[in-house]
């Protein structure tokens, strides 16, 4: 597969840059107050109503254990085929075409699929499937 043909949505979290394939994001919306889920782990912030569907808000910073989401951030609603989930992130930087410069070092965190160099920094690409799996495993307990 040609990595360079795909677009990335780049967002920030606690000063770090992260990326997701554009195809995996349904829409970016402003935060609204989620309804808390009783007994859920603290990285589940609650559920909101997005166009009549219930979407669970995942506080990505809490899941990655690097703080918590900024109240003024954004919700990245994921494609329903992946999960009924929206990621609460600090801000959305924009879209970049993923260039061929794939990071070769395998990231230490299994929730990061790979790292891509862009300009002066790196973008950490999330491993969405593993994130959803981990959340699911935690919820089952």
């Amino acid at each position: 597969m040609k990595a360079s043909s795909r677009g990335l949505l780049v967002f920030t979290l606690q000063g770090e840059r992260y990326g997701l394939s554009l195809q995996d994001v349904l829409e970016v919306i402003d935060p609204s107050r989620p309804v808390p889920v009783p007994r859920a782990p603290e990285f589940i912030r609650g559920v909101i109503n997005v166009h009549g569907s219930l979407v669970t808000i995942l506080d990505l910073a809490r899941l990655l254990a690097c703080g918590e989401a900024a109240p003024a951030g954004k919700f990245l609603v994921l494609d329903r085929r992946i999960a009924n989930l929206a990621l609460w992130v600090d801000s959305v930087e924009g879209f970049v075409a993923e260039e061929g410069e794939l990071g070769t070092d395998s990231p230490a965190d299994e929730l990061i699929a790979r790292e891509v160099r862009s300009g002066t920094g790196t973008i950490r690409i999330l491993a969405l499937d593993r994130i959803v799996n981990r959340v699911e495993e935690t919820l089952k307990r």
Binding site: V37, P38, V47, G52, L54, T56, A83
Partner: protein
């Protein structure tokens, strides 16, 4: 009437149909034929029958009729279109072609259709006995190599590789339709809320009218989704017969209420639980003939499966005239397995004791047999029924038999709930899980051991705080304690909440991945004011 003017047209049109039939059979067999193709096959045979009958060609009409019947069974998903059916149909089409050629040639030939008609009528799939012959294969579930109609309707992974594709689309359309209807109902509540604030007479009238129309629409949409109980019930005689034979029991099995219609989603969900209950009845409920003789009972055990409509519910009952259950034995067994404390056991009513069979880890089987000893137990049965928005009760009399009563909503998507508030969270409790709501005076609460209890219907029921169970702050400060009586692990309890908001119809929305994995949540809903509520799965909340 002189039919000769129509003869040529009969011949040409019949041949057209036959050509279409041959093409369709091959298409359906080879490349996962669609529902549309099945319908077309059925229609072609139907048309042929009508024309031949009009012309007075009795044998062509008869043979077409049998082909039409076979296709109808496929269409109704009593049969899966397999190679055997394809062969039979092609043979039929060939014979019809010969007979029509006879007509064209004005030959008075005698063609023997009897044998083929016989095979068309008696057709059974070749693999039909494989799953049921080996009882261990099917315990607690539908035979795995024969797809249930519901599976086909819902497009589960399909071993036969055909027949399901477009049928699934149809079901999705239906689901979509009911989703939209649900959205409309939610929006109507929203409009009514706004209307109240505006106090506008014309708006009120319009929303009242809208309510009426929506109710009609809802009814119509539900009607479309209804399919008769026979869709699954017709499989059970075979299940019961095969198992009875295997375990050496004699059973008379009756089914009533086959025509009762249920939402197809609910019917699909009922198949496994009912199979399990019926197998239990044969395997454990009924005695062996010798034992029955010794008790002075007829040698044939009797099992009855009956569906009936009660207002907006469908009640499905499975009853047997077997040995029944002994509450004391059940309780002793539960205590021995440390599923209940001896003290709780002592306080249990017979009704609660029967429900112990539905606790995970409990099995009434004295020894694990190869039919019922699999992982699927009564706990799964009960949980499935509750997921469908229904509930299960068990009645039994020692020596006389047992009765399993399933109460189900007519529709799965819109349910009646009791809305309650806990701390700042609104929760929806399905009405089927609420036996009674009570506002309890504090002085009626007393202690029994470590447990706070109150008297209800002559029984001391434990009081539990739903806030506490859900890890929410609990004050329960008022003069009267709002609580509802429900069943937890086979035991009736009073669940205390902070406030009753009221009763309402809500449209159930799935929580989806990953939140659906959380125990105790049965979905969510959006209220008229836009507020999101969770539906509590009471049975699994502990």
């Amino acid at each position: 009437m002189d039919m000769s003017p129509y003869r040529d047209l009969f011949i040409s049109e019949s041949r057209e149909h036959l050509r279409a039939v041959s093409e369709l059979i091959v298409k359906v067999e080879q490349e996962a034929g669609s529902r549309k193709d099945m319908d077309a096959l059925f229609r072609a045979a139907h048309s042929l029958k009508g024309m031949a009958a009009s012309m007075g060609y009795g044998e062509i009409a008869e043979l077409s009729h049998r082909i039409e019947d076979l296709m109808d069974r496929v269409r109704k998903e009593e049969l899966v279109f397999d190679a055997g059916i394809a062969d039979l149909l092609l043979e039929g089409a060939d014979l019809l072609e010969v007979m029509i050629t006879d007509v064209a040639n004005e030959v008075q030939a005698v063609r023997d259709i009897g044998d083929l008609v016989q095979r068309l009528v008696a057709y059974r799939p070749a693999t039909g006995t494989a799953g049921t012959a080996d009882g261990g294969d099917v315990a607690g579930g539908a035979p795995s190599d024969r797809q249930s109609p519901a599976d086909l309707l819902h497009g589960e992974p399909d071993r036969h590789g055909d027949a399901s594709q477009t049928v699934r689309v149809r079901t999705e359309v239906l689901d979509h339709l009911i989703n939209i209807t649900g959205e409309l109902i939610t929006n109507k509540h929203r409009l009514m809320t706004v209307g109240k604030e505006l106090a506008s007479q014309p708006l009120d009238e319009a929303t009242v009218e809208l309510s009426r129309l929506l109710r009609d629409l809802h009814t119509e949409v539900l009607l479309v989704r209804l399919i008769p109980f026979s869709t699954i019930a017709d499989r059970f005689p075979r299940v019961v017969r095969d198992l009875a034979k295997k375990v050496g029991k004699e059973v008379v099995f009756e089914v009533d209420g086959k025509g009762i219609e249920l939402d197809r989603g609910i019917l699909e969900g009922l198949s496994d639980p009912l199979t399990h209950i019926l197998r239990n009845a044969v395997d454990h409920g009924l005695e062996l003939p010798d034992e029955r003789r010794a008790c002075g009972k007829p040698l044939h055990g009797r099992i009855r499966l009956a569906a009936r409509r009660e207002k907006d519910q469908v009640v499905v009952v499975v009853e047997d005239d077997g040995r029944g259950m002994d509450p004391a034995l059940l309780i002793a067994s539960a205590i021995e397995k440390r599923l209940v404390s001896p003290e709780a056991g002592r306080l249990m009513s017979a009704r609660e004791a029967f429900m112990l069979t539905c606790i995970p880890g409990f099995s009434t089987a004295r020894e694990v047999t190869d039919v019922s000893g699999r992982g699927v137990g009564m706990d799964a049965v009960r949980s499935t029924i509750q997921t469908l928005g229904g509930n299960l009760t068990i009645e039994s009399e020692l020596g006389k038999g047992s009765r399993f009563i399933l109460r189900l909503p007519l529709t799965i998507a819109i349910i009646n709930v009791l809305l309650v508030r806990l701390a700042r969270v609104a929760l929806a409790i399905p009405i089927t899980s609420v036996q009674r709501t009570v506002e309890l005076r504090r002085d009626l609460i007393y202690s029994r051991g470590k447990q706070k209890v109150f008297d209800f219907d002559g029984e001391a029921l434990p009081l539990l705080s739903l806030n506490r169970i859900l890890g929410l702050p609990h004050s329960h400060a008022g003069e009267l304690l709002p609580l509802f009586v429900s069943e937890l692990k086979g035991r009736r309890v009073g669940l205390v909440v902070d406030e009753f908001i009221g009763q309402q119809e809500i449209f159930v929305k799935p929580l989806g991945r990953p939140l659906a994995s959380m125990k105790g949540l049965g979905g969510g809903a959006v209220l008229g004011n836009g507020e999101v509520v969770f539906i509590l799965d009471v049975a699994n909340v502990l």
